[in-house]
Structures are given as structure tokens and as C-alpha cells.
């Protein structure tokens, strides 16, 4: 056989095969210059073929940006995206469900086209990195042959539908949401009504209200299983999201009967496609549409849209066989032997959970930073065949869950994992951290989230047996930037990457976000406490946990503790470690975890002129941060209006500092500051973020125009403070860019 297409033949379903052939044809047309860059970029994204860091053909080697001279020359696969540059393949695994055969195929792809690592994402996908675009059609064919498509894994489409990894085996669920998640996946995949979104659309299912697994609160569309009067249905929420401004989803329907779920989703999709923002990416998620029109008006729009839909038999056809996603155990149930060794018991404490079906368990295999090897993958698929059947699930905490493990086999299963070096205990505890790819591979990464969590893992592994249970139970999650792929808003201790300018050099930092709630479907989000240099984050974790243990009252939870003592208290705790030493004192602060290069470009000179101006603008930005902190205190004290006004004031202060940095005369008056900010920083695009463009400037301009901070309620105050935080971060970034430009001009 000379090709995978020929080799796999009829094993590739016609529809999927045709789609891959089409994509392969588009690759050829692009190479011939017959497809526009932007169109091709969206085309490949909708096939799961994603960009990666340095794919613009430039890489900072610690001394400055260097060109990467790929053999492809000028050929590109999107705007500023070099053809030959390695990319990432995102492989959609609906609700995380994998068979042993699929796991084997993923292992083959990882070692033949990637670097032999399979990475579990926070959306239950599998990602492979350092992939060449010309290998992707064959990868897609091999996936299609085992029933996997990468279609709409990225791009402005319906992303992977997620669901609890315990669905169907959970004792607290209303019912198994798996067949419904499967039905909506199949129904919306390639549906004409989901092809014209301004941004991506994420759906999640949860089997119950109280447990966290589904995390519906931060999804564009979420469905929570409910039974009313013996009838199945869902509480449906809409317009949630993390990202730069985290928003909790609002209730669209208190009870949507099961037969109405798909048409309701279709109606929502049509409203989003018709009325959602298309020009400004930054405001194109459905959460902004819901905010803009209000949830009541949105409900009405959806109801009207629902009436216009032509009946589709697929809306209810799946209800005829809700057992289509059922799993068959391969072993008889049984109890766990009573003479289990201590090492097994330590593992089972957090990694083994009884199923609703007596004698069966779900085993969580903890994957360090979500990574496992192709070799481990093959052995895991063997274990599935032997002990659990095709019932593996990727989890949103970047682990693998093996369901239908008989208690009688639990020790043997554990021992097999141990032989694979995958029997790490502590699933769902402080040592089980979640991290997005960050600067390792992501184009948008600001700080090394994986480097940080890798370092924390190493340190916590040493002391894990001595951790008090309340600390052991905490969750840590890290995102490399404000886009929040690490889901840090819902962690007890969350980190989001930012950078700071110190003495003319950049220093990697993380903003600390404390007190987010993972339980009850991520019921509440944490708020930013302040930025700490990356290299001081391990110390920060130490200080935070010690402060908690020393001052908690009784059995007080971390969230309750934070609510009682306030974030102001934590800022005092962190104050001694928030300022990095000078470069001359300790240059290690000027590189990130796991990356010895000097952080960002290290060749920025500090001119005499900049030397005079720098302290002034830095003072202004610092003042803005202080005002924001005061506003956060006001919010904690229940003073929403004061908090919102303070958040706006902090933005004005930061804007004023930048305007003055440009030598523009400005009064201490919000109107004058905003007018000058618009003229000199927004209209000139100096404030524009390279990726978010004018998004952060819009926060200030819009707030100034609509005065939304006046008489704000809790929700508006939260949003104001979130936007203020992001605006100040953007001001720091803008200042860095201005400094670099000045230095370059001086040279």
C-alpha cells in the first residue's frame, strides 16, 4: 500500500473521508497560491489544525528575535503563519470518551507525527504538538478510521462538547447525560446553523447541580440534568465564559424537556449567528450578546427563533435509543480485597471512587501536566481491554478516568499502573494541578504556566505526606495569559500570566486569583489579589497555605476563610514578595520557570530620556493598581457602587499615566484623560494588544460613555473590576512596547 487512504479503504466513513480529501485539496491549492490566507487559516482551524508559538517565523533566543529560516520560504498557512512551522493538532474527543482502539491510534499518531506525547486538555480533547500541516490529512484519515473527527475542534464553531467523567456511573446524577451530549455533538457537527459564528461556542453537560464535574457555569451553553414529575429534562444556562472577563451563565430555561434540548440549542445557535458580534473578536462570544440584550430579551429572541424552526426528526430520534452510549463491563463486580497494601490504599483514597453500580469503581489515572507517552498509552489500552472495556474518559482536570473497574481487580489495576509509573496518588488534590500550555507552545502565552506548575509539583511531591488535609484538598490551576484556558478562575489558588517592567527589563509574573469555587459546577470565581514574580510563586503558595492554616476557624473552608478575612489580608501576606530584586542582585527573576532565556527580549536599553520618564509612568501604574485593590476591598465589604467607581477611577489613572508618558498635557479630569487617551493611544493603536487589538481600550471608552459604574450592582461591579484589571495589565504591556520602541529608536 502506498498511502493511508488506500490502506484504510472502507474503514474511513465516506463523509469523513470526503471531508479529509477536500481539506487535502485545499492544502494543495494553498501551496499553489489559490486560496487567501485568512480563508485557509479558518479552514484549517475548523479541522483542528492550530498554530503554535514561533509560527510567525521569529523566535527570541534570549538575546533578541531571530528568524527561523524554514525551507518553505514565503509560503504561509495563514496571516503571519509560516507553512513549515510546527503546529498543534487538536483532536476532539466528545465528552472525553475513548475506546482502547482509539487510544492505540492516538499513540501511533503521537509517535509518528508528533513527539510521542499525548496531552489531555481542559476540554477533554487530546492535543499533539509540533505537527507539520502536510501530515494532517493522513492523521485525520487514521482518526476517522476509528470514529474520531477533528472537524470543528478549533475555529469559530461548536467546540468539543464536554460532560462529567462520571456520567452514567455517578450516584448523585439525575440521569446519564452521555447520550444527550452525544446527540447534541452529532446534531451540531457541521450543522449549517453553526457555521456563521463570530467566535467559538462551548457546550457542557452536568448530571447534577452539586458536583463540579460539568462546570456548566462557565460555558456558552450548559445543561444540568433534572427530573420533574418523572420526566427527564435540563436546566439550561447560557452566556457563561472564562477568558479575559469571566461571566457566570444565566438561566435560559429552568426546565427544558429532553425532546426540546436539540431545538433549543439550534435556536440559540441561530440567534448567536444572527445577532452576535462579528467585527470585534474581543466581544464576539455569546456572553457579550446576552449582556448586551439582557437575559430576558435573549430568552424572548430564542423563543421566537424556536417557533421558526422547521421540525427535524433528529431532534427526538436519539431518544429511541438512549442506551447507545452505554458501556459494558468486561469483569464481574466485586469488593476490594480487605488485605490491600498500604500503597494501594494511599492511591485509592483520592484516585478510586465507587460507582452507583455496586462492586464497580472509577479509577482516575493522574497524568503529570496532562501528559502521557505513546508507550504508556498502548499499555493503558491493554489495561482497558483487560479490566474495564471501552470506557476511558479524558477529564477536564487533564487526567484519564477508567470506569467499570471491578473492586476485585482494583489492586491488580493499581499495580499495573505502578509498573507504568502512572500510579501517582492525590487526584483532585493540591498536587494534581491543571495548566494550559502557556509559553511552552501557545502563541498567546505570557508566562510559563507549565513551567510553574511543573516546579510546584516537584516541590509539593516532597512534602505531600506532611500537608494538613485542608491544604491537601486545595486546587491549583494556572493559565499563561488572561484567556484562562487553565480555568484558574475556578481554582482555590489560581494563576494567570502577566509581565512587568522593572528597571528597563521584563519580569515574568503571575496574578494570584484566590477563592474560586470548583464545586457546584464552578459556582463562583476568584478575584485577583495581585501580581507576584514567577520565581516567588512557590513562596506565595507557602505563605497563602500557612496563613490559611494559622488563621482558619474550626473546619472553615478556603473559600469561607477568604470571604471572612478578605483579600486585603492576603495582600499584606504577599506584599514582601511582590517586588523582584534588581537584575544585578538576582538575574534568575528575569527568566521564567523551565526556560533559561532572558524573559522576552533582553536587549532593551535604558536611555537617559527613558530613565527620567520611567519612574513617573511606573508610579502612575502603581497608583492605579492600588486604587483597584481598594475597589476590590469595597466589593468585599458589599459596597458595589463604590467598588465599580473605584475600578473606573483606576483605569483613568492608568490611562493618564500613559498619556503623560507621551508628553501630552492632561488634566486630572476623567473626561480630559479619556479624550486624550482616545486620541493619542487608542486611535493611534499604540494601546492595541497584538492579539486582542483594541479590546482593552474599549473597556475604558465604553465605561466612560455609558457610566455603567454609577449605581452598580454586584454583577456590574465584578465586571467593572475584571475589566479594570485587564485594562491595567494592558497599560503595563503598552508601556513595555513604548519603552522598547524608544530603545530601538535610540539605537
Amino acid at each position: 500500500m502506498t498511502s493511508w487512504k488506500e490502506q484504510l479503504g472502507e474503514r474511513i466513513p465516506d463523509r469523513l473521508g470526503g471531508e479529509v480529501d477536500l481539506f487535502e485539496g485545499q492544502i494543495e491549492l494553498k501551496k499553489e497560491g489559490k486560496i487567501d490566507d485568512k480563508i485557509f487559516a479558518e479552514t484549517r482551524l475548523r479541522r483542528g489544525v492550530y498554530g503554535q508559538r514561533y509560527d510567525n517565523g521569529l523566535r527570541d533566543d534570549g538575546t533578541g528575535q531571530q528568524p527561523l529560516r524554514f525551507p518553505c520560504g514565503d509560503l504561509t498557512k495563514g496571516p503571519d503563519t509560516v507553512w513549515d512551522a510546527p503546529g498543534m493538532m487538536r483532536i476532539k474527543i466528545p465528552f472525553g470518551k475513548l475506546s482502547a482502539e482509539q487510544l492505540d491510534t492516538l499513540a501511533e499518531l503521537a509517535e509518528e507525527y508528533s513527539d510521542s506525547i499525548l496531552h489531555v486538555t481542559t476540554r477533554q480533547d487530546i492535543q499533539l504538538h509540533f505537527v507539520h500541516i502536510e501530515d494532517t490529512p493522513d492523521m485525520m484519515r487514521r482518526l476517522a478510521a476509528v470514529g474520531i473527527t477533528t472537524r470543528e475542534a478549533c475555529g469559530n464553531s461548536v467546540r468539543n462538547v464536554t460532560a462529567c467523567e462520571y456520567a452514567g456511573v455517578c450516584s448523585t446524577q439525575a440521569f446519564d447525560v452521555t447520550p444527550y451530549a452525544n446527540a447534541i455533538t452529532q446534531f451540531l457537527l457541521g450543522h449549517p446553523d453553526v457555521q456563521d459564528f463570530g467566535r467559538k461556542f462551548k457546550i457542557a453537560f452536568s448530571g447534577c447541580e452539586d458536583n463540579p464535574c460539568g462546570l456548566v457555569t462557565f460555558h456558552d451553553l450548559g445543561a444540568v440534568a433534572q427530573v420533574r414529575d418523572g420526566k427527564r429534562g435540563f436546566r439550561v444556562v447560557v452566556g457563561g465564559g472564562l477568558g479575559a472577563v469571566p461571566v457566570k451563565a444565566k438561566v435560559l430555561a429552568e426546565f427544558c424537556p429532553e425532546e426540546e434540548l436539540l431545538p433549543l440549542a439550534q435556536a440559540v445557535a441561530r440567534v448567536f449567528a444572527r445577532l452576535g458580534e462579528k467585527q470585534s473578536r474581543a466581544r464576539a462570544r455569546i456572553k457579550f450578546l446576552v449582556q448586551k440584550v439582557g437575559i430576558d430579551e435573549f430568552k424572548e429572541l430564542v423563543a421566537q427563533e424556536r417557533k421558526t424552526l422547521r421540525p427535524d426528526p433528529r431532534w427526538t430520534a436519539f431518544l429511541d435509543d438512549l442506551h447507545v452510549t452505554d458501556e459494558q463491563p468486561v469483569r464481574d463486580p466485586g469488593p476490594i480485597p480487605s488485605d490491600a497494601p498500604a500503597s494501594f490504599q494511599a492511591w485509592a483514597k483520592h484516585n478510586l471512587r465507587p460507582q452507583a453500580q455496586e462492586g464497580y469503581y472509577v479509577a482516575i489515572v493522574k497524568m503529570p501536566l496532562g501528559d502521557f507517552t505513546s508507550t504508556q498509552s498502548r499499555t493503558l489500552s491493554d489495561l482497558a481491554r483487560q479490566y474495564t472495556g471501552d470506557s476511558i474518559r479524558c477529564t477536564v482536570e487533564q487526567n484519564l478516568a477508567f470506569r467499570w473497574l471491578s473492586g476485585a481487580d482494583a489492586i491488580a489495576f493499581y499495580q499495573a499502573l505502578d509498573a507504568l509509573n502512572l500510579a501517582e496518588a492525590g487526584a483532585g488534590t493540591i498536587t494534581d494541578m491543571t495548566s494550559c500550555p502557556g509559553t511552552d507552545t501557545c502563541k498567546l502565552g505570557i508566562s510559563a504556566s507549565r513551567g510553574l506548575t511543573g516546579e510546584l509539583r516537584k516541590r509539593l511531591e516532597v512534602i505531600k505526606n506532611d500537608l494538613p488535609p485542608p491544604v491537601e484538598a486545595l486546587r491549583i490551576k494556572a493559565s499563561g495569559c488572561f484567556n484562562s484556558c487553565g480555568q484558574h478562575h475556578a481554582a482555590d489558588i489560581g494563576f494567570t500570566g502577566v509581565s512587568r517592567q522593572v528597571g528597563g527589563r521584563k519580569v515574568p509574573h503571575f496574578n494570584l486569583v484566590l477563592g474560586g469555587q470548583w464545586t457546584q459546577n464552578a459556582k463562583s470565581y476568584g478575584l485577583v489579589v495581585g501580581a507576584v514574580p514567577s520565581k516567588n510563586i512557590p513562596k506565595a503558595v507557602e505563605l497563602i497555605t500557612a496563613h490559611y492554616m494559622e488563621n482558619r476557624e474550626g473546619d472553615e473552608s478556603f473559600q469561607a476563610f477568604i470571604a471572612r478575612v478578605g483579600k486585603k489580608d492576603f495582600r499584606k501576606v504577599l506584599a514582601p514578595i511582590q517586588k523582584p530584586p534588581s537584575y544585578e542582585e538576582d538575574p534568575s527573576y528575569y527568566s521564567d520557570w523551565g526556560d533559561p532565556r532572558e524573559y522576552n527580549i533582553g536587549d532593551i536599553g535604558v536611555g537617559e530620556c527613558a530613565g527620567e520618564i520611567v519612574p513617573f509612568v511606573e508610579f502612575g501604574l502603581q497608583e492605579a493598581e492600588q486604587q483597584l485593590h481598594d475597589a476590590q476591598d469595597a466589593l468585599e465589604a458589599g459596597q458595589a457602587a463604590t467598588a465599580a467607581a473605584g475600578g473606573f477611577k483606576a483605569m483613568v489613572t492608568a490611562a493618564k499615566a500613559l498619556v503623560r508618558h507621551l508628553d501630552v498635557q492632561v488634566k486630572d479630569d476623567a473626561d480630559d484623560v479619556v479624550t486624550n487617551f482616545k486620541t493619542h493611544l487608542h486611535d493611534t493603536q499604540l494601546f492595541h494588544d497584538p492579539f486582542a487589538k483594541g479590546k482593552f481600550a474599549t473597556y475604558l471608552l465604553k465605561m466612560h460613555a455609558d457610566k455603567s459604574y454609577e449605581n452598580a450592582n454586584d454583577e456590574i461591579a465584578h465586571r467593572t473590576l475584571d475589566e479594570s484589571q485587564l485594562f491595567i495589565e494592558a497599560a503595563h504591556s503598552c508601556y513595555q512596547r513604548l519603552t522598547e520602541s524608544a530603545a530601538a529608536a535610540a539605537e
Binding site: 490502506q7 513527539d115 532565556r597
Partner: protein, 189 residues
């Protein structure tokens, strides 16, 4: 079966030195900066030190990757050609051996690492199940070229053993019979 000179992997095992993977990260970053492998485009460093028995630390290139691989708890330098070889089959195998040995020599020259590599055993793999499934036919096709390549670098006659199952990539363990250095092997060519 198609005899293509691509997707070859060659691994040589370390013979001495404590493996501290984190030390590799700055070394590989420096190799990129200093273009230590001048005929290859080096792009990035991937750190998988947290993965037990994994790929370790990887120097990512366009044509090839270089791993300080710790699979099977046997650390070694794994050269992995991904694309872009322009030559015949035998030359392709020998080029993979040469690049692996050259990378070993470079690592040995990094005094802070304290590495040295053994030459008595080489692992050869083909990461291409379509062109080279792990079966007897592939082994028959590769045996001669591999013996010739091993002989040309290590002298004497090599002993070959196909390893793994049909699910694994095609792999051959080569007992070279040599006890010299990687420098000796490179000098022989």
C-alpha cells in the same frame, strides 16, 4: 512495503553520568542560539522531564528532533528524522547513525552534563507503520542495510534483533560488538 529513507530513529545509550534532565534545557536552548548543528534548522526545546520514562527533553528541529530520552529507564540520545532527507535508502540509514553520533559527541563535550555514551548497542526504529510495519518482511528488508551501516561505524559484525509487537513501530536492537567512543565511530567514517 516502501523503502523510504525517512522517519528513522537512532538511539545510543548513556554509559556514565547522573542524568539530570533539567540541565539539558539550557544546553539545548544554547545549541539553538549558537546553531550547534549547522545543517539543521533548530526551533525549540520541549521539556517533558515530568513524564516518567518519557521523551525527556527534546530539541525540536524542522528536519529532525533530538531527545535526551529516558524511555524504559534507559537514558540515551534519540535522533529522530521527521522529513526532508534527499538520498537513497542506505545513505539515509547511515546519515541517521551519523547525526545521532554527532549529537552524542556534542553532549559529551558539554562538561557540566558529564555525559558519555556507549557504542556497544544501538536502537533503530522506523516511525512509519505504513512504509515499515513491525513484521518479518520489514526486518528482512532492513537487516542488510542496518548491518552494513553498523559495520561502517562500529567495525566488526553486528548482531540484530527485531523487538516489539505489530502494534509497536518497527524496531531493531543492534549489538554492535564495539567498545570504542562515539568519536571513534565518527572517525571511522
Amino acid at each position: 512495503m516502501t523503502m523510504k529513507p525517512t522517519k528513522f530513529q537512532v538511539k545510543l545509550y548513556t554509559s556514565a553520568g547522573e542524568i539530570e534532565l533539567e540541565k539539558l534545557v539550557p544546553v539545548f536552548h544554547r545549541w539553538i542560539r549558537e546553531k550547534k548543528i549547522p545543517d539543521e534548522l533548530l526551533i525549540d526545546v520541549a521539556d517533558y522531564a515530568h513524564v516518567p520514562q518519557g521523551p525527556g527533553v527534546v530539541l525540536i528541529g524542522h528536519q529532525s528532533d533530538y531527545y535526551l530520552d529516558v524511555a524504559d529507564d534507559r537514558p540515551g540520545l534519540l535522533y529522530s528524522r521527521k522529513r526532508g532527507f534527499d538520498g537513497d535508502f542506505q545513505t539515509g540509514i547511515e546519515d541517521a547513525f551519523r547525526r545521532a553520533l554527532r549529537a552524542c559527541q556534542l553532549l559529551e563535550s558539554e562538561a557540566d552534563l558529564g555525559f558519555s555514551f556507549a557504542t556497544d548497542e544501538v536502537l533503530f526504529r522506523v516511525q512509519d507503520r505504513l512504509a515499515a510495519p513491525n513484521d518479518d518482511a520489514t526486518y528482512d528488508a532492513y537487516k542488510g542495510p542496518l548491518e552494513k551501516a553498523a559495520g561502517s561505524f562500529f567495525g566488526g559484525s553486528a548482531s540484530l534483533e527485531r523487538i516489539g509487537s505489530s502494534r509497536d513501530p518497527f524496531a531493531v536492537r543492534i549489538a554492535t560488538g564495539a567498545n570504542g567512543s562515539v568519536g571513534d565511530a565518527l572517525a571511522r567514517r
